[in-house]
Every structure is written in structure tokens, then in C-alpha cells.
């Protein structure tokens, strides 16, 4: 059996992936989530987790927010950790540009439905949301439209309602493709 292991920087990412993964993976693939306590903790501890992971036939996806750092630098640093663990060949690193919430800005229909705010559905047509990865502070952007928005609870509400085939975030599409690729036998 193929095992797909996600290394994540926090619980919101896990909430979201737990909602997406069942629709993206065939039943023959079992998913696992390793949840770290933020970026530093993830960088410090991920090599040990990869090196001593025991399930045979496992593939890994490392997902991290870009935040304000340079996307290439972040990716290179994480790839270095994968190489250090000796399992780079089984790993794909994906960066959320700029944050997990960028993925949500790529699907206003889902946001509107999640918070019962139908008027938000129209935002999909606005020019700035056609490429949500360019918005530097997506969580703040989300909070502007959904007052009181909170990270984990928000992810739990929005993620299950998303249309994974029609998301406008390019970094989301890259993640989705990586998941499909790592699931292939």
C-alpha cells in the first residue's frame, strides 16, 4: 500500500488537507499528517522524521507558507533538509504563496458558502483575485471580508467546500498536482 505523508507547519494546514485528500487520492493510498509547531520547529525536526519513517512504499509532501520570505530560498532550505535525511527522491516540497489562505482566496464560492455571506461569491470575478498568489497578506485579506476570521476554524469551514479543480491560486494547483503525482504507483 502506498503511504502519502504530509509534513505541515501547523494544524490549519492539516484541517485543510484532511478535507481535500480523500477526493484526490484513490482508496489504495493511505495519508498521514505530521504537524509541526511552526516553521522553525518544522525545519529543525523534519529531517529526523523523514530519516526514521518506517512504512515502506511511502512518499512525502512538505508544505510550507512562503510568508514574506523569498519563495526560492524557502524551497531550497526545505529541499536541503530532505537531502540531509537521505529521502529527497521521495519528497516533493510545495510552497503556499503566500499562505494557506491564498488557496481560499482562489475560491470565493467556497468562502461565501462557508460563512453564509453570498455576496462574497461575486469576488471571484474581481481582477485582483484572479491571481490570489500575488496578495501578500491573504489571511488579513480574508479577515477584511469575513470579520472575525480565524485561522484553524476558518480552514475547517472553507476547505471541505472548495472546488479543487477550479482554484485560481497557482500554488494550489501545484500542490494538487504534487498530491496526484505522489499517489501514483
Amino acid at each position: 500500500m502506498r503511504h502519502l505523508v504530509f509534513l505541515l507547519e501547523g494544524p490549519s494546514e492539516k484541517e485543510a488537507l484532511e478535507a481535500w485528500v480523500p477526493t484526490l487520492l484513490p482508496p489504495s493510498v493511505q495519508s498521514h499528517f505530521i504537524v509541526f509547531e511552526g516553521k522553525q520547529d518544522m525545519e529543525r525536526r523534519m529531517a529526523l522524521k523523514l530519516r526514521h519513517w518506517m512504512q515502506p512504499d511511502s512518499r512525502f509532501i512538505v508544505l510550507r507558507d512562503q510568508d514574506s520570505a523569498d519563495c526560492t530560498d524557502v524551497k531550497a532550505a526545505l529541499l536541503a533538509r530532505c537531502t540531509e535525511s537521505g529521502r529527497a527522491a521521495d519528497c516533493i516540497v510545495r510552497i503556499a504563496c503566500h499562505e494557506l489562505e491564498s488557496f481560499f482566496l482562489g475560491d470565493w464560492q467556497a468562502v461565501a458558502q462557508a460563512f453564509s455571506l453570498p455576496r462574497l461569491a461575486d469576488l471571484d470575478r474581481k481582477a485582483i483575485y484572479r491571481d490570489p498568489d500575488r496578495i501578500a497578506l491573504p489571511e488579513a485579506e480574508l479577515r477584511r471580508h469575513v470579520p472575525g476570521y480565524q485561522k484553524r476554524g476558518g480552514a475547517r469551514r472553507i476547505a471541505p467546500l472548495m472546488d479543487l479543480e477550479r482554484n485560481r491560486s497557482r500554488s494550489f494547483v501545484k500542490l494538487r498536482e504534487a498530491i496526484t503525482r505522489q499517489a501514483q504507483p
Binding site: 492539516k14 498521514h32 499528517f33 505530521i34 504537524v35 509541526f36 509547531e37 525536526r45 529526523l48 522524521k49 530519516r51 526514521h52 519513517w53 518506517m54 512504512q55
Partner: protein
Amino acid sequence: MQIEQIRLKNFRAFRDVQMKDIPRFCVLVGANGSGKSSLFSVFAFLRDAMASNVTVALARLGGSRGIQEVRSRGARGPIEIELKIRTDLGNKGSKLITYELHIDDEGGRPVVVREILRYRRGSSGKPWRFLDFSRGVGEAVTNELDSVDDESKLTREPQTLKSPDILAIKGLAQFERFPAVVALGNLIENWHLSDFHISRARPEVEAGFADHLSREGENLSLVVEYLHRQHPALFAQILDRLTHRVPGVTSVEAKTTEEGRVLLKFSDGSFEDPFLARFVSDGTIKMLAYLVLLYDPQPHPLLCVEEPENQLYPSLLWDLAEEFRSYALHGGQVFVSTHSPDFLNAVHLDEVFWLAKTEGYTRIHRAADDPQLNAYMEAGDRMGYLWKEGFFAGADPQ
């Protein structure tokens, strides 16, 4: 004395669980409502059953619905409790006692449908049945086991208990001669649950006598007074530990006022006048309470502690875990339930069990049985990190 195994069937959320290879220091992890406290209630149930009878014990646990409430939802058949206890008999080696209790309702009344005490000498060989009762009738061995080397030489005598809801280990006075039964009785009678509440420990109490810290800690000042008077060397040790853990505190004293109330006074090196307990931080009182509990001159044979981490500074939890472990090694066995990764980081692989609830029933997993946890721990990882990272399958709230 050490509980090595617990098997439960149809007892509250435990439809059918078995805990094996239980260490002297045993840490339980699980989401709220996963059954950590229910596990401790097994011991409370046995104590109540021994002090009075099974009917009373069921009513105490399940209220007016008694056995209907205590039996797992949707389950049929008797409630079963089985403990395997290793007793240390000094230079005579150790004995493994198995105590098995099946309770059911018959004609609307709780009845002990089976009660068995088995006894094994050494680590191999066939166990000898020492006591076997059903519905108040059965037989028990009458001769001293130590003088017998073959089961056929045991003499058994039929006995009838006063009522079918009474435990034979309690009802038959003859067992007082048998060290193994005395040990079992001692464990059940003298186990202790600590569920410390700051608000209960703070107020001054009426003068009195207490040599053990109570469940919620309201007699803390009395125990401090007792230790101070009767065990000055031990008390000095407690103070020494406390001053290392809590910055500023240099001494603690219990004073009886003219109105006959006992006050706790804490001295801070920087000030001349001591502080009363009610003005001292929660963490200071809690740390003192745990030290008083753990440096008990007469340790409990079994100590169960609910979530000791509250109000304590995270870095102190490592020390606290070590204190619990030394109590377990020198005194009685310790079960601790915790939600603290910092506490868990100080705990060894073979000391951790986690509870996971699936479809309404609790399962208990032993961390040492999980190869992945073994691999990470061998590579220098820690239980608290592994727990937070999600490696205790099913432990997190769903």
C-alpha cells in the same frame, strides 16, 4: 506491588480492553472524554465494592441506574474486571496474583456471577485457584500455600457469603493469613486519587490532623504541619526542592492561629514578613502540594494523578515527571493522566499509553508496541513532540 495487567469488559467506555506490561510509572494520554478518568474509576469501584458491596459501588458510579449506567452502552453480558498484580515477597521472590470479577444483574439486582483469585508462584507454572465463587457460593483454600508444593495437596472448603453482591475477598476473614490476599486488599483499599484544586488548598482550615494529602488538597496546611513536626528531615528535603523550583521562596511554615485555624506562611528571602498562602501564586502552592504528596513518609501502594500540569511553569514539568518516577520506584505505582507535551517529553517510551475513542468505545494503545514510535525514540526523539506531531493514532480529538 505492581499492577501488570488490566483487562476490562463492558465497563463504561471500555467495551473490551486490555493493558499489558504496565510499568511502575504509567502515563495516560487522551482527548477529553476518552476515558482516562474512567480507568481510575475502576479502582474506586473496587474499593467501594470491598468496603460495602457491589450494589453500593455500582450506585456510587452509575447513580440510580446502577449497573445499567456502568455497563458499556449497547453491550450485553457481565461487566468484567481482571487485574494481574505482582507482589514482591522479599527474598521469597515474587508472586503473580490474578483477580477476576464478573458482575451482572439477575432479577433486577446486581450479582457477583464470578469471582476468582488465582495465584502463581514465580514466573512460570500453572496458576493455582485459590478462591472461586459464584452468586455468593463457592470454595476457598484453607491451608497455607507456602507449605504446599502441589495443587492436589490444597484443601478447599465450601463457603457461603451473606449475600450474592458481596466480594469473597472481603467476606472471608480467613484470608488475612495469606500475604497475597492481604496485598491485594491493601492495594484496593489504600490507592489514592489526586485531583488537586488550588481553590480548595488555599483557604485556612480548622486545626486537625492529616498525614496524607487529600484528593483535592484542602488539608495541605495540616499535612505541612504534620511533616514539619513528625518528619523534620523529610520536610527539609521538601523545602529544598521547593526553593529550587520557585524563585524567592525560602521557607514554608504552618501556624495555628488563636481561633484554631491553620495558616500556611511562605517566606521570601527579600522580605522580612512571610506571605500567607492566599497571597502566594497558584504554581507555588501546587508545587508544594505535589512535593508533599510525593515525599509522603508512607506512600500509597497506588497513586493516580489527574493532569498535574495545570498552573505549573512548563520547564518544571520535567522535574515533576522525574519526581513521580522516583515515587514509583521507591514507593507505590503511579498512574498519571496528562495533556501536557512538556510533561510527556520527560517520559520514557515504555511508560506511555494512549486512549482513543472509536465508535463510542475506548481503546488503549501501548506506545512501546508501535514500531514507528520506537524508531523515533531510538533516534533521540521525545514522546511529547511525537504526540503533538500526530503519531499517537486516534488520540487527538476528532
